[in-house]
């Protein structure tokens, strides 16, 4: 019970920090609260948030997937290349499904080593990310593709709300609906289904989970397939937002997403975490990334600031966890 209340208070604490930051940012630069900026932040959260949901499920299961970025890029570039060349008028839904399929298959490939051979997920996904990246760049293409399917370009202009403001037109992109859907699905999966309980169980103690009679292998395959599907969808979204497909994009940002997930949940290893906390972590990281520019902090301070935030954030969380013991 005490750990659950810790988790609950962890979220309130994050929320408090976020509100505090918003207030400070707002004071320094009132444009922070403008519709343009708010919608901008929300749009930035779409990719990070969707990927974070996949990472959350993996981390809850006690593992760590380092290859999700390469899976996303693989799905993105492959779909853009083949649909761009042969089936340029494919509907967006088909593109998303195809991306999800590719991502899911790659995720199952990952899970083979982790579930069947019981190799440590961290190292295996390090290896598979190299394999996937190498395969993509060597055999599918290493050049930027500008001729992406029309549906993607149309999607990038698809806005939910359009408000005319003094500083310009504020557009709330439809992508946030996609993000909301993924968040809701993940949240329900983890909290309301037996599969979700199995994932928590494996994360907490794999041996106990086996003895209780759960199918560890099946569950882990699902976990990594889910991560793959989510990554594939993100890849398609990214290409749509950028209006092109660059196979060198996105790689390098994995660690920021993992930071967002772990900031948003208690760092006790596997077996803990929920969608709400993770989204708060994503919001925090996105706010920091977006707002440094608003605060007129030069871009070259960004990396150092993110590093400091991660360190301070984990220190504070650890302090509160120790206090609660």
């Amino acid at each position: 019970m005490s750990v659950r209340s810790l988790i609950k208070s962890n979220e309130f604490f994050l929320l408090f920090i976020i509100v505090l930051m918003c207030v400070i940012f707002g004071i320094v630069n009132p444009a922070f609260f403008s519709a343009v900026n708010v919608f901008d932040v929300l749009k930035s959260m779409v990719e990070t948030g969707i990927l974070a949901m996949g990472c959350l499920v993996v981390i809850v299961s006690g593992g760590l997937d380092l290859s999700f970025m390469t899976v996303a890029v693989f799905a993105m570039h492959t779909i853009c290349r083949f649909f761009g060349e042969y089936y340029n008028n494919a509907p967006m839904l088909l593109l998303f499904l195809a991306g999800a399929l590719i991502g899911g298959l790659l995720g199952i490939f990952n899970s083979l080593f982790i579930a069947k051979f019981k190799l440590p997920s961290f190292i295996v996904t390090l290896g598979t990310s190299n394999i996937i990246k190498g395969f993509l760049l060597a055999f599918i293409g290493s050049k930027q593709i500008n001729n992406i399917p029309n549906a993607m370009i149309a999607f990038s202009k698809n806005n939910l709300i359009s408000i005319k403001t003094n500083s310009g037109i504020a557009n709330l992109h439809t992508g946030v609906l996609l993000l909301a859907a993924v968040v809701i699905v993940t949240s329900l999966l983890l909290s309301k289904t037996m599969l979700g309980r199995r994932i928590y169980c494996i994360g907490g103690s794999p041996s106990s989970s086996e003895r209780v009679g759960f199918n560890n292998i099946g569950t882990l395959v699902f976990v990594y397939a889910f991560m793959g599907i989510v990554a594939g969808v993100t890849g398609i979204t990214h290409a749509s937002f950028q209006r092109m497909s660059n196979p060198f994009d996105m790689v390098g940002k994995e660690l920021n997403i993992i930071a967002a997930v772990t900031l948003g949940g208690p760092q006790v290893g596997g077996g803990y975490g929920n969608a709400g906390g993770t989204m708060l972590g994503v919001l925090l990281i996105t706010l920091i990334n977006n707002s440094l520019i608003m605060l007129k902090i030069p871009t070259f301070w960004q990396k150092a600031t993110i590093g400091l935030i991660i360190i301070i954030g984990t220190l504070v969380q650890k302090y509160r966890y120790n206090k609660s013991l």
Partner: protein
Amino acid sequence: MLRTLKRDRHLVRLFAIFIVVAAALSILRPSVFLSAANFRSMAVQLPELGFLSIASALVLISGGIDLSITGTAVLSGIVAAIIMQMGDSSVSEPSLLVVALACLAGLCIGVLCGAVNALLVAKAGIAPMLATLGTMNLFTGIGIVLTKGSALSGFPDLFLNIGNGLVFGIPVPMLLFIAAIMLLSFFLNRTKLGFKLYIYGSNPVASFFSAVNNTQVVLTAYLVSGFISSVAGIIMVSRINTAKADFGSSYGLQALLVAVLGGIDPSGGKGKAVGIFLSIVTLQFVSSGFNILHVSSFLKDLVWGLLLVLVMVLNTLVPKTARRTE
């Protein structure tokens, strides 16, 4: 007994892969691959990643992980570069003192970075992955701030000799690297602290109750890792005559790959120095070999990943059969 065999088996497998790669390359392009020029070029490229792999391996054996080695390396290089450029303005050819001071400062930065990591992991008890993730961003970020994002270049010849000089025809970095491997092997096998590192890495609780000073072990692992990373950083700057904050950012995970391929168990407690040496040499052969064969460098990534996964799968599969024959 079986455990030693298993560890040996990994090294044996690794050695077999090394022989296969070396033989294949020697047969395919004997004139280019087996030339002195090729060996010299490999001996220049290898040590940077090699030093980072040693740093990575030390921390891995202790059961932790250090993602910030590239940050430390880059920051050390940048600090050394700044000091040399400060002293440059007055004299046309800066003295040995300035260069030595710059290198010393770089190494101190490395130790300092290691200390920050050690404090966070040992004293504050933060998970090593998170702590070093934060410090990686922090150190690289400080490097970016110091250089304002641009590259510093133009260093005294004396300094450039570190990365590019030859002693008896062997590049200096390679000599340094071989010395480092031998020191590492001595440290791990013949010193008390090295032994304690293995014990702590295998089981921190048991080592605590065995009167091992856990804090000292963790401190050592991260401090030395930081120091070695800074050596790598200084060599990097010296070799390409430039100090840039985002250089070698992919080295972090590659170093991990080299270490694990070399037999370092990521959960801690196992690994030998000679494994690291074999691993980096093999991977360098693959890298240079692909260059010579005009194979896409992207395929190099694929092969590296494949080798890692293959070796890990073999490690899991083979003990099962060994047990059956007993």
